[in-house]
Symmetry: C2
Subunit: 455 residues, 2 copies
């Protein structure tokens, strides 16, 4: 792959002030580049070696470092790799990198270490994606979801489906090759069974995407209500009680406020739809473009009101929606006990009505627990099973599904085996795209560019 | 030292998104704490060992890590120390630390690893300070100055002075002990000579403080001039051409703007005294409280004007100052050649007049080079020699100097040897304070608290 050869070097720890920093060098010349820069050469692989790092030309001392040599293939990249652990801070690692670049290494591109690990067969594409997911994980649960991926369990499952389909395609193709000879014909039922089982497998994985996405990207929870119902107060009350995640996502212009919290390890993304003005009722609210979009993409909705009499109307509206929701009756510190009881009794369905006071911080914890329970019930947020969490995976699965449906149709219609085989091969190719068995450089660029430099 | 025992653990790399993170554990129980958390125990010290990090209770997998064991005393702290290199990001290192804390380690205080290195004699106090200086260095030159300190060269020099004084004190004290016996008396000239040499040494070090401070903290360069003379334009023109340092220093309320740049490895701190209003001339400007303070603390002054006829007045003012300065004649794109020549000829002294246009970016580079030349000439910015860069050192040296002056006075006045010996001992004790031979816990707290956690 042109442009990706050579020996690369980069800072692998975050930039900034810290006790230590680690610079990594990977490639065929890693050791040759390092040797003239250290006063003591690591005597053997995996031996942490105290040494001075010096400029090979003027012999100027740069830092006291610990150098460890990971010999190919026993390294992260699968290549010869050297780790230089130096003092932290802004300057030292920069000076070390300058020397390495002068000595023949080149700056690593984002994700290039992991890209090499992939190219050298140390991990497949889903595992490489899992590495990036783990590093960017904002909560314990999203970390766990990434870990399942890192362990290669999705790849195993895909391999099983692939095996099933390979057998089917082979059977068909043998039939084709020998069609003019007098050998036993293949049972169409056997092929059909394999295609059917492949479809079920793929469908299960596609269904898991919702769970995977929520664990990975967080559950989207808009707070919807009329002006002055207390949307912002509710959000603030929640933020006061929860572990808020300060995120690095560059500011985008939006008409709503998003806050990310870590609730029992789950990432929840709360949206205050503030800015909406003068709307007569909830159904109309939902007609507003921004809110409509937020509600459409929601994983759970919080519908907030201060008027007990509005509860039945909101409930009526929610019953037409498919998304789990909670009706939040706010400002209960100002409501008679009787009214609250009445509001609760309005909903005949199991739609929960939670009575809170955002201002007075009443029942906020109970509300949060209820949110999590609903999410868990509805989406089976199990981090131990294999699931899809990347849209890329989902898209490839869709292609595979479509091809298998077409294969099944061809079988049902008694079409020529070569058409069936082509469909099955197309499905297999889509699965291979997920693990990276066949993937174009463009796709690789897209995937590895979201990595940080140094990984 | 109470409160500083036990086995400590902390993240030693900066927080944030990065390829890898390193967690350090140091103390007598480091290996005992690690053992149940890893699937493979490092077979020997210094051997980088691939292993899984697991929760010792529920055996849950946390991350694939590389563990290296540095056995006491061959470690940074001098204690048993284990480094755990894990995937980067916000969550993983936090989970690993949680496990370590649950297993008996406690969170390290800021600088506690270095504090232990100091306590265990791996480095003296000036070297520990150098570690923090290196990490916080903003330019190559400040790094170099810190490195001289790290190499222990200041400590060596102090040790020489100490030795000189110890001999003097011992001679005096022997004289005291045997004063009722009939042994040879000590030559007062010999004692006086040692005190004198100590004073010269100490004086040299104290003189180096200005150089050390500039290399370490940067040269302070206020830009002073009337409103509309182009102070802000000049600062902006400089920032466009130079490597600007974005600094983490929390915003303080100030009446001026400070910008830090890295010019050929030197840290320059430029101050725009903007905000000053309606002043008639430079002398009056200097009378303003804020500007006065900036000018008093300046290492070099930039006096800016757009009027050639003002040059002689500014020159006259500057001749009464002791600080190197440059007169900047701005807006030369609008001035006739003749006027510029005239302005240059006004100064009879070697006070430089630099003709520039901040707006049109004319001669800004030449101005910057001139600034650096002046600084180098005036402060001998040599990074290879031993110098003082900490106010703490300077203060202790002042105490030592005062004590030795008192000793010399006592000798000259023929006072009792015990007074002279007391003074010399006081000077020695002040020197010991610098290296940390004798230092109170309060001083240690003060020094190590400015370290980051994890170092």
């Amino acid at each position: 792959m042109a442009g990706y050869e050579g020996t690369i070097a980069a800072l692998s720890t975050p930039e900034g002030i810290g006790g230590i920093a680690v610079v990594r060098v990977s490639g065929p010349d890693a050791m040759n580049i390092i040797k003239p820069c250290v006063s003591r050469i690591p005597p053997e692989p995996l031996r942490a070696t105290f040494t001075s790092f010096i400029h090979p030309k003027d012999k100027h001392f740069i830092d006291d470092v610990v150098v460890t040599y990971f010999k190919s293939p026993r390294s992260y990249t699968g290549e010869d790799l050297v780790e230089i652990s130096c003092h932290g801070g802004r300057i030292i690692s920069g000076l070390i990198l300058e020397v390495l670049y002068a000595c023949g290494a080149r700056p690593a591109l984002p994700g290039e270490f992991s890209r090499r690990a992939f190219i050298n067969g140390k991990m497949d594409l889903t595992q490489a994606e899992a590495v990036a997911d783990m590093i960017h994980a904002e909560t314990e649960k999203s970390l766990k979801a990434a870990r399942v991926l890192l362990q290669g369990r999705l790849s195993q499952e895909l391999e099983e489906i692939r095996h099933l389909l390979l057998d089917a395609a082979s059977l068909l193709e043998i039939g084709l090759d020998f069609s003019d000879q007098d050998i036993e014909t293949i049972e169409p039922e056997d092929i059909r069974d394999r295609v059917e089982r492949g479809l079920i497998h793929i469908n299960d994985l596609m269904t898991s995407y919702q769970t995977g996405r929520i664990l990975h990207n967080g559950a989207r929870i808009p707070i919807v209500g009329k002006p002055n119902a207390g949307k912002s107060s509710l959000l603030n009350a929640i933020l006061k009680e929860e572990r808020v995640i300060t995120s690095d996502i560059p500011g985008t212009t939006r008409d709503y406020i998003e806050e990310r919290i870590n609730h029992s390890g789950y990432l929840l993304r709360l949206y205050d739809t503030a800015g909406l003005r003068d709307t007569r009722d909830f159904i109309e609210l939902a007609g507003l473009e921004k809110t409509k979009k937020l509600m459409k993409d929601a994983d759970l909705m919080l519908m907030i009101t201060e008027f007990p009499d509005e509860v039945p109307y909101i409930a009526g509206f929610l019953e037409t929606q498919e998304i789990p929701a909670i009706i939040v009756l706010n400002k209960i510190d100002r409501l008679p006990e009787e009214d609250i009881r009445r509001a609760r009794s309005y909903t005949k369905t199991d739609l929960p009505v939670m009575a809170v006071s955002a201002q007075k911080d009443i029942h906020i914890t109970a509300l949060m627990d209820r949110i999590l329970d609903l999410l868990k019930d509805h989406y089976i947020l199990n981090t131990e099973t294999v699931m899809i969490s990347h849209l890329r995976h989902q898209n490839h699965l869709k292609v595979a599904q479509k091809a298998l449906l077409s294969a099944r149709h061809a079988l049902d219609e008694g079409m020529s085996p070569e058409f069936v085989a082509m469909d099955i091969r197309e499905a297999m190719s889509a699965l291979d795209d997920i693990t990276g068995k066949t993937t174009s450089p463009d796709v690789l660029n897209h995937i590895f560019n979201r990595f940080c430099i140094g990984k």
